[in-house]
Amino acid sequence: MDFLNALVALSNFVLIPAMTYGSQLALGALGVTLVYGILRFSNFAHGDTMAFGTMSVILFTWLFQSMGISLHPLPTALLAIPFGIAATALLMLGTDRVVYRFYRAQKAKPVIVVMVSLGVMFIYNGLTRFILGAEEQRFMDGERFIIRAREFKEMTGLREGLAFKTTQGLTILTAVVVVIVLFWFLNKTRTGKSMRAFSDNEDLALLSGINPERVVMVTWIIVAALVTIAGTLYGLDKSYKPFTYFQLLLPIFAAAIVGGLGSPVGAIAGGFVIAFSEVAVTYAWKKVLVYLLPESLEPEGLVQLLATEYKFAVSFMILVIVLLIKPTGIFKGKSV
């Protein structure tokens, strides 16, 4: 019984939140890694692209709600995602045409393009705030919980409750589907193969007749889809505010670098490493240990490695450790 209680408490406060957060980070990191692998620069505008994508989804969600269309018990936002992706893809292709293509033609150094992406970040930043404002928006509707903590307690008779939100279930499920589709696309289709070839060796790919502009275009569209899905899931599960999306940039980059920049598998692994460390390092383990240990060994204090205020510092620490010990990341990506 005590063991079950410990397991439930651990799932409720560590495993489920970290799985959800990890899936959101993984989707974000996949976008960063694709841009890095194929366009060869670190896209600082990634967080604000996510904010823009989510904003488009929110606007379409409101439109559907006003028209009375709903997906009950699922959130209406799921219906709006394809439209949000289309809007974001248009924005990114437009940006590429106006900004990035110029620097690509010049064969500008990666560091210059990174600075350019910083400029793009500020533009997107302003655009999102101009259209929807800087405040928090709620766009979640439908059923909030799959299992409520109180119901779980009554059902099982355990002392600990387990809550599982609809959005958490959706996030994990969607992430799995998106990752499977992405890997199938990269490994099995002609376009996917040409993207990987372009990433591995640009000159060789050009010689074998791959059209670089087409590869770049497909990359932007995939990235638009990834950020919009990741941003919407994050917004549904937590809350939408442009500034928090900008702040997500750090854990997302940490995830991509830890996994190995340019490696899709690494991005996913990195996302979960960052999420689990952030949650586990700041969790107070007292409750779980009290259930597991015999009474004589019960901890007096909270058994918390780091206070929750330092949550963001965890990503930094992991980043520094990885860069010191294994600069190419877990899955041998490109060194930064």
Binding site: A149, A163, K241, F243, E278, V279, Y283, A284, Q304
Partner: protein, 394 residues
């Protein structure tokens, strides 16, 4: 050049002569920033008091009070200091009604008000730290210190027989001050606090904070934050994970939007909010409504009282100077004397001109204690059927 200088000097002199019967009072509130939704009402209430004084025509031989607004931003101490500096050096205000949030109020007090000898009357800064601030007798407030609210909250818990709780507060002067005061009072009553954890406002996710608080455990969770910021996020995360069932809330959490957003899960939650009742409050509610102000909006009554006290203190001192405000404010606010309700400022001026004494009651039943701050009465409420129901007044 000489002519130009002469001309400028002459203009300055004439300007001075014209404004001799104009007395400027600074109104420094966060017209932009986190509390921008309530400051227009606060500013309006302060200006209403000054207008009432002017309309009576009995203020110091027919002098008129002129309000000058400035923006405290609520959070940016540097901007607030610059705004107050401008009020004093370029506008030449004799006293300041403000500021609002505890952090910027402390900054203006020590950086601008004390060096220039200008008194401040804050309607809403509640941090206990301001009670012991180095103020040379220049700082007053018509809002009570949170030290008092901490005691009231601890008393309520004692009555309910709650022995063990976890505490989270918004990481700023207000949250820290209230949490410290409450923990001291609660532990003084023999209670046990399992964990005191700060939270940052404006984050998307508070599951880590709630995880730590839940692990520490307790009968309920005390939340000293803001109703539309991290405080709400914390309660939301707690409801989502089933960490706590009941919450104790500080005054910053009081708001109808909270109940609208969180719904049925808030049942049984209780807390305190500064409250005023009595004849003065009722009169002010009507007076405010006649002037398109909402008396129920947070700190509107305190703002009216703060501005009225500044004007009455000048009248009692017989001159429109900073020194007169600082020296006479406590006298006009407290007994003995004729009780003065809102809307009776003209009568008060008459009594003062005749050498009599007044006891300003105002919209909040003003009674300044200690270093010049409101004694404060609180409404203890409980959430029943998604409404704030009054339990008692303390």
């Amino acid at each position: 050049m000489k002519k130009l200088l002469l001309a400028t000097a002459a203009t300055a002199l004439t300007a001075g002569a014209v404004s001799a019967d104009e007395v400027k009072v600074g109104i420094i509130l966060g017209f932009t920033g986190p509390i921008e939704s309530i400051t227009p009402m606060m500013g309006g209430a302060a200006e209403l008091a000054l207008k009432e004084v002017n309309d009576s025509g009995k203020f110091l031989n027919g002098d008129t009070l002129v309000p000058v607004r400035a923006d405290s931003t609520c959070v940016d101490a540097a901007a607030a200091t610059a705004a107050a500096e401008r009020l004093i050096t370029s506008d030449g205000v004799v006293a300041i009604m403000g500021a609002d949030c505890s952090g910027v109020t402390g900054a203006i007090l020590s950086n601008v008000a004390v060096p220039n000898g200008v008194p401040m009357v804050s309607p809403s800064a509640t941090s206990p730290a301001l009670s012991s601030a180095e103020d040379n007798g220049l700082f007053f407030r018509t809002a009570p210190s949170d030290a008092r609210q901490g005691e009231v909250l601890a008393e309520i818990l004692k009555d309910k027989g709650v022995g063990e709780i976890a505490v989270t507060y918004t990481n700023n002067d207000y949250g820290k001050g209230l949490a410290d005061a409450f923990v001291a009072a609660f532990e003084g009553n023999g209670g046990k606090v399992t964990l005191t954890a700060p939270h940052e406002d404006g984050k998307a996710d508070y599951s880590a904070e709630i995880g730590a608080l839940a692990s520490a455990g307790g009968d309920l969770l005390a939340v000293f934050g803001y109703t539309d910021q991290g405080g709400k996020g914390i309660i939301q995360a707690s409801i989502d994970t089933g960490a706590f069932d009941t919450y104790l809330m500080g005054d910053g959490m009081y708001g109808d939007s909270l109940l609208a957003d969180l719904g049925a899960d808030m049942e049984g939650t209780f807390g305190t909010v500064p409250w005023a009742q009595g004849e003065g409050t009722e009169i002010f509610t009507k007076l405010a409504a006649d002037n398109d102000l909402n008396a129920e909006s947070s700190y509107t009554r305190e703002s009216y009282d703060a501005a009225a006290l500044i004007a009455l203190a000048m009248a009692a001192g017989g001159e429109a100077s900073s020194a007169a405000v600082a020296a006479n404010l406590l006298n006009v606010a407290n007994a003995p004397g004729e009780p003065i309700m809102p809307g009776e400022l003209g009568k008060a001026l008459e009594i003062l001109a005749g050498g009599g004494e007044i006891d300003y009651v105002g919209a909040t039943g003003v009674e300044l204690i200690g270093p010049g701050e409101a004694a404060g009465s609180y409404r203890h409420y409980e959430v029943k059927a998604s409404k704030f129901e009054t339990v008692e007044y303390k």
